[in-house]
């Protein structure tokens, strides 16, 4: 009798636990609506979501690929961005896309006062900036998105 009663008390205790567990867990489900979603089910949808989230760059993978396609095979591309910030991940994605095309990638900190000289030292064929509007020294700027621009680089 005692065993049976003890069993019943245990069942009640665990039922209350699971009720609280499920209740507290379910409360957080309202966060789902606030989470970022992919825009479509295209093969680069996660990269696109990242470009949009960090750079307000729509259809990012395609636009980056189109820009990289303008560069000669084996050419050099410089990424101008702030390392260690939200710009790091899109910078890595662009690096990967460039690497797939056989391009060499160099990075220059966007906050450097001599950024222009540092970029020129790499003698690139093209430059991306992930730090907002394109600098005035970009020779043929294409604003890809709100915080991302690309330019072919004229070597002097």
């Amino acid at each position: 009798m005692t065993d049976r009663r003890s069993f019943e008390w245990q069942v009640v205790g665990w039922a209350l636990f699971f009720l609280a567990f499920v209740g507290a867990g379910a409360v957080t489900f309202d966060r789902l609506a606030k989470q970022q979603h992919v825009m479509d089910q295209s093969p680069h949808n996660s990269s696109d979501a990242c470009y949009w989230r960090e750079l307000k760059l729509p259809d990012g993978s395609r636009r980056v690929e189109e820009s990289l396609a303008l560069l000669p095979k084996g050419g050099r591309v410089v990424l101008l961005y702030r390392p260690g910030t939200y710009q790091s991940l899109p910078a890595q994605l662009i690096s990967l896309a460039a690497w797939r095309r056989g391009l060499q990638v160099a990075e220059v900190p966007a906050e450097a006062s001599d950024a222009r000289q540092q970029v020129a030292m790499h003698e690139p064929d093209g430059v991306f900036t992930l730090d907002g509007q394109s600098p005035e020294w970009f020779s043929s700027p294409r604003q890809l998105g709100e915080n991302c621009a690309f330019s072919l680089f004229e070597r002097k």
């Binding site: 699971f18 979603h37 996660s46 990269s47 990242c50």
Partner: protein
């Protein structure tokens, strides 16, 4: 052929290889394992086979030859495993209304996950580390080139991270013939279902009644971090995959004590635990913990018996670490080596770090009452005489990693370390969340008749 069909074929090879390895290891006890657990284990073992085979064979062959070689190996394993004799499983009790209700809940949860997961993009580490490596491997017809490990072409760190996940992803890409970030996320839901399947099967295997076992498995859905966490189950991180392997291996520990090193449980333990170092760096330490507990469990502590438990993991870890050493991979720049000097230099971090771990376990927005429940469950298991041994095993299985996870933050080179903890600690805790859920299921009340049966079996 459409990419979707090719993806199905790639997954079929994984499951076929995994099922064959499971059957070879479980032998005549195959049927004793619940089908849901077998499917979960097939995923783990199959993905382990494919990724390891890609690592080994990928340096020699590429592209379609690599696909043919690995698929041929899977078929060979399947043919061999078919020869293993198995005994039919004794029919369990009939489904009660409660069982049907729980099954309906599990199916509804699965439906929700299949609807929700495709909306979630891959997260930071998934894109920067795991999937990026898969893309690079795919670009090299299946496997990363040797030069990558000594001189990565682009500025990513973490070259020394193991390749279970990247090579499973590149396997899918190789079959599909293209990089596909939409389909590769299928790994998340499959891993989640593997957790649920193994929770159902392992709990029942360890004596929990069906409805209680399924209650535990269905409750995992309500661990907030799993579904709504920033780096939860569906963002392509390696933490839940590591967690499911840890769960699968740890759930075999109680059986090793009673059945010995020559048992199916010991073989399954050794191989599943052996995959831990291949999934993530901290997996090596989780493997050490499990192997130490398993060795202590053995009725006869002979070198041969301990070797059975240790060899698979040691081989895998030694192979990868040896390879990195040979090709000259730079050491991990983010942590100081665990020397006494480094620890004493950062001694002022020890208390805040472990306070931080305690606070994380009580973070209800991440874990609901999971850790409160797991603590109560462990106390119950330890207090009850007939479950004391199981309680001690799982106290170590849950407690030792929590203790160990503090030290990387003590030795971290990230500044400030609080930010590092904020970013990484929930993910480390997530790795042992499945096993914590198993602990809760094990402590659920059993009818008096069942307990007396267990008591007589213990005697």
């Amino acid at each position: 052929m459409s990419a979707t069909l090719l993806l199905v074929a790639a997954l079929a090879v994984i499951f076929m290889a995994g099922a064959a390895i499971f059957r070879s290891l479980a032998g005549h006890r195959t049927e004793e394992t619940l089908i849901a657990e077998r499917l979960g284990l097939s995923w783990i073992l199959g993905a382990g086979y494919v990724s390891l085979a890609t690592f080994v064979a990928g340096f020699l062959v590429k592209g379609w030859i690599l696909i043919a070689l690995i698929s041929g190996g899977a078929i060979g394993l399947f043919m061999l495993a078919r020869k293993c004799r198995t005994f039919p499983r004794a029919a369990g009790p009939r489904f009660s209304l409660r069982d049907w209700s729980l099954l309906a809940i599990l199916i509804a949860q699965a439906w929700f996950i299949l609807w929700w997961a495709p909306k979630v993009p891959l997260g930071y580490d998934a894109l920067a580390l795991w999937e990026a490596k898969a893309q690079m491997a795919f670009a090299h017809s299946g496997a990363l080139p040797v030069e990558y490990f000594s001189n990565p072409a682009v500025g990513w760190g973490h070259v020394y991270y193991p390749l279970f996940l990247p090579y499973t992803e590149s396997w899918l890409y190789l079959w599909m013939g293209r990089v596909d970030q939409a389909w590769v996320r299928i790994i998340g839901p499959i891993t989640y279902f593997a957790v649920v399947g193994i929770l159902c099967g392992a709990s029942q295997r360890l004596g929990v009644p069906r409805s209680a076992a399924w209650t535990g498995a269905a409750s995992f859905f309500f661990v907030p971090y799993c579904i709504t966490g920033d780096w939860g189950a569906f963002v392509g991180y390696a933490d839940l995959p590591l967690g499911v392997i840890y769960l699968a291996a740890a759930s075999r520990l109680p059986e090793i004590g009673s059945q010995g090193a020559s048992s199916a449980a010991a073989r399954l333990f050794a191989v599943t635990a052996g995959l831990l170092p291949w999934m993530k760096q901290e997996g090596f330490y989780l493997w050490l913990i499990l192997v130490a507990i398993a060795a202590l469990q053995l009725p006869e502590k002979k070198v041969k018996s301990i070797a059975v438990l240790v060899v698979p993991g040691m081989l895998i870890a030694a192979m990868f670490k040896g390879f990195l050493k040979v090709v000259g991979t730079a050491p991990d720049p983010f942590y100081r080596p665990p020397t006494w000097e480094n620890i004493s230099r950062n001694a002022d971090r020890i208390i805040p770090v472990f306070q931080g771990i305690g606070q994380e376990l009580l973070n209800f927005e991440h874990w609901s009452f999971l850790w409160v429940g797991a603590t109560v469950a462990l106390v119950i298991l330890l207090v009850r005489r007939q479950t004391r041994r199981t309680g001690m095993i799982f106290a170590c299985v849950v407690g030792a990693p929590l203790f160990l996870f503090g030290w990387p933050f003590v030795l971290s080179m990230y500044v400030p370390v609080e930010t590092h903890m904020q970013l990484a600690l929930p993910r480390l805790v997530f790795e042992i969340a499945p096993v914590a859920m198993l602990v809760i299921a094990l402590a659920l009340p059993r009818r008096v008749e069942q307990e007396s049966k267990e008591r007589s079996e213990t005697r």
